[in-house]
């Protein structure tokens, strides 16, 4: 198990995994999101190549109604 902080909350995930696998794990595939890892944007093209490690801080955002 490794621990990630996702949107401010600690979360255990089963294995070291890449960003795409994390999205699958969290059932977020198919949803339009953007991801920041430790303060840096992870471009969609790198979801397969970026491996997440213990302690990573992630922000996963969507567009919502706003003024």
């Amino acid at each position: 198990m490794i621990e990630l902080t996702i949107n401010g909350a600690a979360r255990q995930v089963p294995m070291p995994l890449n960003v795409m696998q994390l999205l699958e794990h969290m059932q977020l595939t198919g949803k339009r999101v953007a991801i920041e890892r430790n303060g840096e944007i992870v471009p969609r093209s790198q979801y397969l190549s970026v491996e997440l490690v213990h302690g990573d801080q992630l922000e996963i955002v969507v567009a919502v109604g706003g003024g």
Binding site: E59, V61, A63, G65, G66
Partner: protein
């Protein structure tokens, strides 16, 4: 045709609307359609983890192919948070770089923090963003934001969500007179006449959310706002008559009155 040009792109509508505070996405969509707006603001927020990914989203109701999205930084109180938010927005929207920057000063008034706004604008413009910037009605700050390279300056008419209307038309007038980029009144519009007054002053456009979303009938108010912006723009272009406090000038002929 009288078009609004922002960052080189032309728009037929001079009304920009927010998409917050509606009952559901269907009401949001109907209000946006009734407003005739082509540019719509959206917020960027953490996804609700554990939520069903098949739930409808804003992007389904108002497809980015049909509208120009204007992601905002509402809720950001520092330049850093605003910059991070807009970088996420650009990634989320496939490289879309037209954004609304707002850095707030305090949660009670939502008044802009212009120091942080200037800092964020510098970084974002250098980073290639086309920044439409929410600011106070201070003409000097508005000019500085323009000089940094913002593509539109968006002074408040009154506080966000207050519906208090245009409290300082004189400052807005100075900003409009000095500006070489579009001036968009953003925040404070409460009803149709406020939007008309903003346009009559010579603003290039008006941006609103609450005035529509919190009207008793948002769809009807959205169409009223469309008409109000049209009317104000037409009156501005037509050039109003001068105000004369006491120069009698009847509209009917002075000769031929019976009994004279």
């Amino acid at each position: 045709m009288d078009k609004l040009t922002i960052a080189g792109k032309q728009y037929g509508s001079r009304l920009l609307v927010g998409t917050g505070k509606y009952k559901d996405f269907d009401e949001t969509r109907r209000a946006v359609e009734a407003s005739g707006a082509q540019i719509i603001t959206v917020a960027i927020r953490r996804t609700n983890l554990g939520q069903d990914a098949s739930q409808p989203s804003l992007l389904d109701a108002l497809p980015p192919s049909k509208y120009t999205y204007l992601p905002n930084t509402a809720g950001c109180y520092s330049a850093e948070d605003a910059i991070r938010t807009l970088r996420l927005a650009r990634e989320l929207l496939d490289g879309h770089d037209l954004v609304k920057l707002e850095v707030l000063g305090d949660p009670k008034t939502l008044y802009p923090n212009v120091v942080e706004t200037l800092r964020a604008a510098e970084v974002l413009v250098k980073d290639g963003f086309k920044v439409m910037v929410y600011t106070s009605d201070d003409p000097i700050i508005a000019k500085q934001l323009e000089e940094i390279g913002c593509v539109a300056v968006m002074p408040l008419a009154s506080l966000i969500g207050s519906g208090m209307g245009i409290l300082n038309p004189w400052n807005l007038q100075i900003i409009i007179d000095n500006a070489r980029v579009p001036v968009v009144v953003d925040a404070g519009v409460g009803t149709a006449s406020d939007a008309t007054i903003a346009m009559e002053l010579g603003c290039d456009a008006v941006l609103m959310n609450t005035a529509i979303a919190q009207a008793r009938d948002p769809i009807l108010m959205a169409s009223a706002m469309q008409l109000a912006v049209h009317a104000g723009r037409a009156a501005y272009l037509a050039g109003r008559m001068p105000k004369k406090i006491y120069t009698a000038s009847p509209s009917s002929p002075t000769s031929g009155v019976i009994g004279t």
